[in-house]
Amino acid sequence: MQTGVQIHGLSLRSADTSAILDNLTLDLPAGQVTGVLGPNGAGKTSLLRAIAGFDFAPLNRTGEVRWQGQSTHDMSVQARARVISMVSQMHDSVFALSLNQVVRMGLLPHQGLFSMPSASDEQEVADALQRVGLANKAQRVFSSLSGGEQQRGLIARALVQKAQLLILDEPINHLDVYYQHDVLGLLRQLSHSHGLTVVMSLHDLNLASFYCDQLVLLQHGKLQAAGRSVDVLDAELLERVFGLPCVVRHEPHGSRVDFCPSGTGYGLSETTPLTTSPANPPTSPPTSPREGSA
């Protein structure tokens, strides 16, 4: 398995020394899709930003993140942009950028101050749009596209950027079921057919298990588990991390997790039909593990 992202002793602390990431050490293989899971405030976005080499000032960062042996933090901004592309959650613009303009921005890390647009640049943009199925929408205003199309457009930008490592922060947030599968399927296909390394944060554990080769589970900035979905998606572990009882079934192509809130504390009546039995049915709602999270 080719070395991809190596994280060693990574910590991120605020001025009052509370840990946002706490001594993380893990390896994410190249050419695979890794899903970062965890409740809100677990440190998923911070981990992704650290992998992307973003600055965290005024937070105190220790430890190291390497991409194929090179520290991402020590790379120049431009050199980093040639190999790593990050798609953040917020990407709306007040100005009417076209999809074509957004995708063409991916050329930027490879252009000098005096570079002029060339036919090959245009061809690269057209090819990327073709690959994500948006060739006929190149002149559309980016913000007028559906959420799924916007995500596809940003993936096209990363393709133009020729990034080897694509980092996405909750790429299927606010997407309907069709586009959730559409976007994740595209990412998996690009990873497996083009060797792209994909690291993304996700909330949907079932989709994560179906589309990701590796999963990383965080809570309060600490690593709880990492590996294949059968290793990470464990009912007891998930109940401890998410504070809800659940049933986990491992299937050939992924795992299925059903969270089963029960009891009056959740606002559900006693007759609410729950077809599955929780692994450890609680008599009252457990204390939320999110309390006190960073």
């Binding site: 942009a81 917020m90 007040v94 100005f95 009417a96 950028l97 074509n100 921005m105 205003v141 007028s144």
Partner: protein
């Protein structure tokens, strides 16, 4: 809601023609009557009388060229500021540059000893320039501090600096003698009538440098339109680009204010209009703003000196009146 972006090919020739024809036509307008054919004769260096030559070359031509430069400069300053703050409502005047200039002008006017140190006619613009620069330094210091890291915080920092310098100006005027205060107030209303031919080069040079810089860095400015993280992911250091954009905006505005006083809203209106015509790319918006801003102010100045037969209206009042209506129309569209 606009759903597709189509470049309008005819816009560029129209803008170029507008920026050339507008100043030429405006040479025929002015408070002093030049006999028929005189303007054309002077344009071809055949002025019939010395008095016509003086009116044409010392008053009318510098003023028209100044309008072209000032309008273009303010529009480019606004385009730069709106891009780096990702805020279509950003205006150079929000960043305290005019307030700084007003403070400098007020101090030099109410402290008579100060103006005696420098040649007549230089003290006021120089003080205004120093005041503008002070505002730029203050906002820039805030922009690089941990207080104003986001575009929204930066805008608030600009408004705060503007209000603070404005309060100081009013305090200085309150303490000063009424005649000096009147003089400063009139200067702050904005006028192109004081510009002389030799000052145009001082105004043109920073404008050329700014346009060249913005064009070279244009693609990097565009990358900031989708947020700082996106810019960083594309290899663009957002805070550095924001600082460059702000210095360009502030420098251009300071030069304009130093020679022409307060002329507001051009930097807000013009980039807004041209974005609808040429798209949002910096490499398109900046030259288009330069051309349309120049043409706009040429015609605003024609109106300022022709609207009333007895005296001219300060151009800053006119642009503010037009700008406020434009602002309200923008709000309605949103």
């Amino acid at each position: 809601m606009m759903t597709s972006v189509q470049g309008v090919r005819m816009v560029w020739p129209l803008l170029v023609v507008l920026a050339i024809v507008s100043p030429l036509i405006s040479l025929w307008f002015g408070s002093a009557d030049l006999p028929d054919g005189t303007v054309w004769a002077c344009l071809t260096d055949q002025c019939p009388r010395p008095v016509d030559q003086a009116i044409f070359y010392d008053l009318r031509l510098p003023r028209v060229l100044a309008a072209l430069l000032v309008g273009g400069g303010l529009a480019v300053a606004g385009a730069s500021l709106q891009n780096v703050t990702r805020n279509g409502l950003a205006d150079p005047y929000l960043f305290g540059v005019v307030a700084g200039a007003g403070l400098g002008a007020s101090i030099v006017s109410v402290l008579p000893g100060v103006s005696s140190w420098v040649p007549d006619g230089v003290a006021l613009p120089m003080a205004a320039f120093i005041g503008s620069s002070l505002a730029v330094v203050l906002v820039q210091a805030l922009a690089t501090s941990a207080w104003a890291r986001t575009p929204e915080q930066l805008l608030l920092a600009g408004v705060a600096v503007s209000l603070m310098l404005g309060a100081m100006t009013h305090f200085v005027l309150y303490l000063g003698e009424p005649f000096a205060a009147n003089k400063v107030m009139f200067w702050l209303m904005g006028s192109l009538s004081r510009v002389e031919l030799h000052q145009l080069a001082i105004m043109a040079l920073p404008l050329l440098v700014a346009v060249a810089l913005l064009w070279l860095l244009g693609r990097r400015f565009d990358a900031m339109l989708l947020g700082d993280d996106t810019a960083r992911s594309l290899g663009v250091e957002a805070s550095t680009m924001r600082a460059i954009g702000m210095v360009i905006c502030a420098g251009l505005t300071a030069v304009v204010v130093a020679y022409c006083g307060g002329i507001g809203f051009v930097g807000l209106m013009i980039p807004h209009i041209v974005r609808r015509w040429v798209g949002v790319s910096t490499r398109q918006v900046v030259p288009a703003s330069l051309l349309l801003g120049g043409a706009f102010l040429v015609w605003a100045d024609v109106l300022a000196r022709s609207a009333s037969p007895d005296h001219e209206i300060p151009i800053g009042i006119l642009t503010s009146a037009i700008g406020s209506v434009f602002f309200l129309l923008m709000m309605r569209r949103r």
